[in-house]
């Protein structure tokens, strides 16, 4: 088996295992109030961090480029209560405009 096949199968097995593990923790362990509070906050921190990393990180470097401009425009659109697709498209148009013509 080639390296690539090992990587494809190994990555897929572990990816599913991690997902299934999360779903299989007995609910009684999640009933505790503190665990409940923390569990509600986890997607907020992970998704916020993801936004930050996708906006200014390039591998292990921090880079300010067209992506940041796009995300700032998205922030403005969100603050103005724009519909979801407007938020996403305005970010894409801003970023693409700077990338192509900036």
């Amino acid at each position: 088996m080639t390296t690539i096949w090992v990587a494809v199968i190994g990555t897929s097995l572990i990816a599913f295992g991690l997902k299934y593990l999360g779903h299989s923790v007995p609910e009684k362990y999640l009933k505790n109030e503190r665990v409940l509070r923390i569990n509600t906050l986890i997607p907020i921190v992970l998704l916020s961090a993801l936004v930050g990393v996708q906006t200014v990180a390039d591998k292990s470097k921090l880079v300010i480029d067209q992506r940041l401009a796009g995300v700032i425009v998205a922030c403005i659109a969100l603050a103005l209560k724009a519909p979801y697709f407007v938020v996403v498209i305005s970010a894409a148009l801003t970023s693409a405009a700077i990338y192509n013509f900036g």
Binding site: V6, S12, F16, I44, V53, A57, Q66
Partner: protein, 222 residues
């Protein structure tokens, strides 16, 4: 099941299509890194977690070993486990349904689900399933398209996809940032992940922010 809220459907479909489109970039990246079209498509079908997929083709494309590719991808996949922890008590599914739910537990399905919290747990469930299946469909479709026509589209940045994806996630988390507490938490998470980025392997800066959730959630808020 209760009737499906139209706003939930719109959000789910917008997210599915936007993120799915990015599958084109993955398809192209896979082929460019030396993966066959079949291997590239299998990663989307079986691993089904964008960050992990980009990581494994990135590491192997740069000459890394299978083990380092798997390790990096798995590090990025840990957060799906944390999402599963959050979604399980809402979905309450067993057997085959749990297997399916686990496979589609990713940033997007969890993000849309928590974005529907104000509409009730029924809307959260609908958001999860619709987005999970929607992303699965478009992500795989566009992975194949990208793998087949890597050159035709060219650079995803030229299409603004590099900013559309974080904007899409920002739009999902935004409705949850209604108080100063949540905003402070989100800003801390961004700062911590960026501060760690230059020093640790990809994936760790994001998972590390789970510690902030623990710190912020430890005490009862007034």
């Amino acid at each position: 099941m209760s009737s499906v809220n139209r706003a939930t459907v719109t959000t789910s479909l917008s997210v599915s299509f936007t993120v799915g489109l990015y599958g084109t970039a993955f398809g192209a990246a896979g082929v460019a890194a030396g993966f066959s079209i079949l291997q590239t498509c299998l990663l989307s079908l079986l691993t089904f977690s964008g960050a992990s997929q980009f990581a494994v083709v990135g590491v192997l494309g740069a000459g890394g070993s299978a083990i380092s590719g798997i390790a990096t991808a798995s590090l990025l996949g840990i957060r799906n486990g944390l999402y599963g922890l959050r979604m399980a008590p809402i979905l309450k599914v067993r057997g085959v349904k749990r297997v399916v739910a686990a496979q589609i537990t990713i940033d997007e399905s969890t993000g849309v689900a928590i974005g529907q919290e104000d509409l009730g747990s029924g809307a959260m469930k609908h958001g999860f399933w619709l987005t999970g299946f929607g992303v699965y469909f478009f992500w795989n479709l566009f992975t194949l398209a990208g793998a087949l026509g890597a050159q035709a589209m060219g650079d995803p940045s030229a299409w603004g996809l590099d900013a559309a994806v974080p904007a899409a996630f920002l739009g999902l988390v935004w409705p949850r940032l209604h108080g100063n507490f949540e905003r402070a938490l989100a800003v801390s998470a961004v700062l911590l992940s960026l501060a760690l980025t230059p020093f640790v392997a990809a994936g760790i800066p994001i998972i590390a922010t789970a510690l902030l959730a623990v710190a912020f959630g430890w005490k009862v808020r007034r």
